[in-house]
């Protein structure tokens, strides 16, 4: 595990005005993640998980506070710079895969790589997720697990600084879910990339290097896991 604070959130606050009341979706939230860590952010519904994800992913701006990824502050970026950040530095894995239905598996990966700077070859990445045979299939011709693998391949192929996963197993059955987790974990360890999984599924805590507990818009507690459990033995 390399040293240094790769992802830093410092007193991050995100407030929305709803009529007369102000809702603080993130309320002075602070935590750090090191480079190459497999981090799981858990919390109940409405705790602020989505807000953290949006802020980490450059999809939303802060009301106050400081956030930096790989030493670069995101707080001061404008909309265009945030788009550039999403383009080159973040990989996303969605709960519902979000593949373009009219593009084949390989083309869905190309959709991401053709606009980013340090992309990996799409074929190679597709091979890594074990889908080189299905390169020319459209999403509708793939199973849920396969679609999620294409989605992961699309995120990995961007060669991002961080990989953000939003309930990546949420729409999948138990076994398929495990396979997906394995894929994410291997990417994290083989490439020494930071992977952040946002979930309400407590069972995923076992495999993480770092667990951030979110509650009421705050990072209530951060746990380091010296000996992560093997994916095969976690149950939910």
């Amino acid at each position: 595990m390399s040293e240094g604070n790769y992802v830093v959130l410092n007193n991050v606050t995100k407030a929305y005005k709803m009529g007369d009341t102000v809702i603080r979706a993130a309320d002075n939230m602070s935590f750090e993640i090191n480079e190459g860590e497999f981090c799981v952010i858990v919390g109940p519904s409405g705790a602020g998980k989505t807000t953290v994800l949006n802020i980490l992913g450059g999809m939303d701006t802060l009301t106050s506070g400081e956030i930096s990824i790989a030493g670069r502050s995101l707080a001061a970026l404008n909309a265009r710079q945030l788009t550039e950040y999403r383009r080159n530095d973040v990989g996303f894995v969605f709960q519902f895969y979000n593949l373009m239905s009219n593009l084949t598996a390989i083309e869905n990966i190309e959709l991401a790589t053709e606009i980013c700077k340090n992309a990996l070859p799409p074929r190679q990445v597709l091979d890594e997720v074990g889908l080189s045979e299905r390169a020319n299939n459209f999403p509708a011709q793939l199973s849920g697990g396969e679609q999620q693998r294409v989605s992961i391949a699309r995120a990995i192929a961007k060669n991002p600084k961080i990989l953000l996963c939003d309930e990546p197993t949420g729409a999948l059955d138990y076994n398929t879910g495990k396979m997906i987790l394995r894929l994410l974990y291997d990417f994290c360890k083989n490439y020494k990339k930071t992977v952040i999984v946002v979930t309400h599924n407590q069972a995923l805590k076992g495999m993480a290097d770092r667990i951030v507990y979110i509650k009421n818009g705050r990072a209530e507690r951060v746990e380091l896991n010296e000996r992560p459990t093997d994916i095969e033995s976690i149950e939910w």
Binding site: R80, T83, R86, Q95, F96, N98, L103, T104, L111, D166
Partner: protein, 804 residues
């Protein structure tokens, strides 16, 4: 339950607000266009009829010889002039005729005052029942014999104000009022035998105050004619019966009987209404078709997008009827609002705009809004039925599925390889984003069809409209520069040439303009395709037959081959031939006469039958006596000096210069152009709404995809490109198909609108095609700009959480 249900309906309206507005707008345009165009022609005819009837405008005018030769009326006239006038007994005889309702005497003649032609009419002004009353516009009626009324001013008729003093034949008259005579509601020039050959002033005196007891003519209204529209066949039939019985009475005095069909203003106005009606038979129907297709697809799509909600309601136990009601209510609401607005615009606003187009050659009668609901209501009914029907069908289709099937989001429309991919040399070099676009284009056939139909329909309308303008605007130049080559034409009295030569003055004048030809010209009214049409018979001496083509070019339109004028038969103009289905070699029968058609000549304005004197003699059984001289002399242009010099010559009745004819022939074409502009405007609006609607639906449907692109780091411009490229490609297809369709539509309309005395060219200028295409692209571009903020606002979170 009802409350929750109505909440759903009102939320639906809000969430699809822009689509709702677009639907209303399309329905409105379609209905307004159909209604307005179909109602305006009949409205115009009604307006003229109501106006004419209001002032008891004569159905027949009896003109005694005194009127025809402009003999001035004086109380001290010698008694022998009585033979040339109508007396009280003559009027009584007319009144006794069973067809006659009202007979009002009149004294009318043209005189020359300071070189100006003045028409003086002694009319019955004080009797509100009198036929041929002018409408009092300003001032009051005369109270003494020295008080006078003036016709309202126009381009040719002089402007006199109330209080002006006018000197006529050495007496002074005071203008006390301004009137408008329905008989002269055209502002075109009125021919006169005095002055410069056209009227410069029209003045009215009170006949009852004048002491005159003999009349130059009489205004006659026909019993039962008022109830009929002046442009109807029933009216024409009634008048022609009445006319023949009146003509018998009038024959003893050598009177000339004139009817409303010989009135320039009435005929021209009717022709304009006819043209509008023929335009409205094609354009709006096509327009409506496009509108119907577009709304139909929109509703179907809306229902299909709502599967989840339908499933939700159904699984909650809502009865199918109630669920369907929601969509039917939406469809009904939007179509009924659209129809209501459409009827309002169509019945009220559009007729005014179209009617105003005729403001230039007419003192327009007040517009009468008749209840020509048929087309309006039919189009409204079609709209509502189709929209509600399509919605119901789509809802039923969804409702037939089990709620469980509905609740599971339908797999997004599967991506598929398209045919294009099988052509590697086309597909391979395509850039990635274009591949995606091409697949999208073909992914949703309904979508593709709607855009292409909408865009193609609009392009076709624009092209046909602009093309028609091309065709029309070319007419005067071809007609009066390429076909009719003479510079002026002089009308002479019929008897002038009886001895084989004109009077000395005219003959001397003709020596100075050696390039001339003497012809016989005779107006005929013949029935062509069920319509009474003015046709001019022109006969030339056989010895002049070869020379004739230098004055009037006779040639086939297709090949341009010269047609010789010879004794083999008559050459007829193309309009007559087309509408009678005549070809060279056929026998053409008209008004009890018949001639062999020896050729069909290119001609756009007017209808002519050309023949040699020999053919004329055998066909008409009458002698050939020239009454018209055509002259080629470019140095002669209309102007006070020249015109007056010619009119001053003995035997000359009138003179007409080609340049004037050409200019005045331009006017009705300008009106058509205006009307076409309205068509193009509507088509453009439809195009814009169709594209807006499509873009909107496109964005709504792909919200998730677009949000995903944003998350992947696509810039706003690139995201927009994803949607816009597709629309651009579909627009290109639509425009190309539309241009082909427009050409067909144009040819059809041209054929449809052609009447014997107006043949419209078939050609569309090359740059009109380009303009029509570019216009559609411009609409697309504007819509794209308008939609951009909406694309920018798409929330990325929707890509994370929303299932579909």
């Amino acid at each position: 339950m009802v409350k929750a249900y109505s909440k759903i309906v009102s939320r639906q309206l809000r969430s699809y607000f822009s689509r709702f507005i677009a639907m209303i707008a399309i329905v409105m345009l379609g209905v307004a266009f159909m209604t307005g165009f179909s109602a305006t022609g009949p409205n115009m005819k009604d307006s003229a009829d109501v106006y004419l009837d209001k002032y008891d405008t004569p159905d027949l005018i009896i003109k005694a010889p005194a009127w025809l030769t402009d003999i001035p009326a004086l109380p001290s006239d010698p008694p022998e002039l009585s033979a040339l006038r109508l007396t009280a007994e003559d009027l009584d005889a007319l009144r006794a005729c069973e067809y006659v309702e009202n007979v009002t005497p009149v004294v009318s003649f043209d005189l020359e005052e300071d070189g100006k032609a003045v028409r003086l009419s002694y009319s019955v002004l004080g009797d509100a029942q009198a036929a041929g009353r002018p409408e009092l516009i300003a001032g009051r009626l005369p109270e003494t014999a020295e008080e006078i009324l003036t016709e309202r001013a126009s381009e040719y008729i002089a402007q006199y104000a109330v209080g002006d003093t006018v000197s006529l034949n050495g007496s002074a008259y005071t203008v006390v009022g301004v009137v408008g005579n329905p008989w002269y509601f055209s502002t075109e020039k009125e021919i006169s035998s005095k002055g410069r050959g056209r009227l410069d002033a029209m003045l009215y005196l009170d006949l009852d105050l004048s002491g005159l007891t003999e009349y130059s003519g009489a205004f006659v209204t026909v019993r039962g004619a008022k109830a009929l529209n002046v442009y109807s066949k029933e009216y024409r039939d009634l008048i022609s019966t009445a006319e023949s019985s009146v003509a018998e009475l009038a024959e003893s005095k050598n009177c000339f009987v004139m009817n409303r069909q010989m009135n320039y203003a009435i005929v021209l106005f009717g022709e304009n209404a006819d043209k509008l009606e023929s335009l409205s038979a094609v354009f709006p129907a096509f327009f409506l078709l496009v509108a119907v297709l577009v709304v139909m697809t929109t509703m179907t799509r809306m229902v299909e997008e709502d599967r989840l909600m339908i499933g939700g309601l159904k699984s909650q136990g809502y009865p199918s009827g109630r669920i369907a009601m929601k969509y039917v209510a939406y469809a009904l609401l939007s179509s009924v609002i659209g129809v209501a607005l459409g009827l309002l615009v169509g019945f009220r606003l559009l007729p005014i705009a179209l009617y105003r187009a005729y403001g230039s050659p007419f003192h327009l009668p007040e517009l009468v809004y008749g209840f020509y609901f048929f087309f309006g209501l039919a189009s409204a009914a079609i709209m509502i039925i189709v929209i509600v029907g399509a919605t119901l069908l789509a809802v039923m289709r969804s409702l037939r599925e089990k709620p469980s099937a509905l609740l599971v989001a339908r797999a997004p429309k599967a991506g598929k390889s398209i045919l294009l991919e099988k052509i590697p040399f086309v597909w391979k070099p395509l850039k990635f984003k274009y591949k995606s676009t091409m697949r999208n284009v073909f992914r949703n056939k309904k979508h593709m069809l709607m855009t292409i139909i909408g865009v193609a329909g609009c392009t076709a309308l624009v092209l046909a409209g602009l093309g028609l303008r091309d065709s029309l605007s070319a007419i005067p130049d071809i007609q009066y520069k390429k076909l009719m080559l003479y510079d002026l034409s002089i009308e002479t009295t019929m008897t002038a040439y009886a001895d084989g030569a004109y009077g000395d003055g005219l003959e001397a004048f003709l020596k100075g303009t050696p390039d001339h030809i003497k012809l016989y010209q005779k107006p005929e009214y013949i029935e062509i395709a069920g319509k009474n049409t003015a046709v001019t018979v022109i006969a030339a001496a056989e010895s002049d037959a070869d020379n004739f083509s230098r004055f009037v070019r006779l040639r086939g339109r297709g090949d341009g081959a010269a047609l010789p004028l010879d004794n083999g038969g008559a050459i007829i103009t193309e309009g007559i031939a087309v509408l009678n289905g005549l070809a060279a070699g056929d026998v053409f029968s008209f008004g009890g006469r018949s001639v062999t058609v020896s050729g069909i000549t290119e001609n756009y304005l007017g209808a002519y039958i050309y023949m040699t004197d020999t053919v004329y003699r055998s066909a008409f059984g009458a002698d050939f006596v020239p009454n018209r001289i055509l002259i080629i002399d470019p140095s002669m242009v209309s102007g006070d000096g020249v015109t007056q010099a010619i009119l001053g010559l003995e035997d000359v009745l009138s003179v007409e210069f080609m340049t004037d004819t050409r200019i005045s022939s331009q006017k009705p074409l300008d009106q058509m152009s205006f009307i076409i502009s309205i068509i193009v405007l509507f088509a453009g609006a439809l195009a814009a709404i169709v594209i807006y609607n499509l873009t909107n639906v496109n964005i709504e449907e792909r919200r998730k995809e677009l949000a995903t692109l944003k998350v992947l780091g696509y810039h706003n411009g690139e995201v927009a490109g994803y949607i816009y490229r597709e629309i651009a490609i579909l627009t290109v297809f639509g425009v190309l198909i539309g241009l082909a369709l427009g050409l067909g539509l144009h040819q059809y309309i041209v054929r449809f609108m052609s009447v014997p005395n107006m043949l419209i060219g078939r050609d569309i200028l090359w740059y009109t095609y380009i303009f029509a295409g570019l216009l559609t692209f411009a609409f697309t571009a504007v819509v794209a700009l308008i939609m951009y903020p909406k694309l920018k606002k798409i929330d990325m979170n929707s890509s994370l959480k929303v299932l579909d």
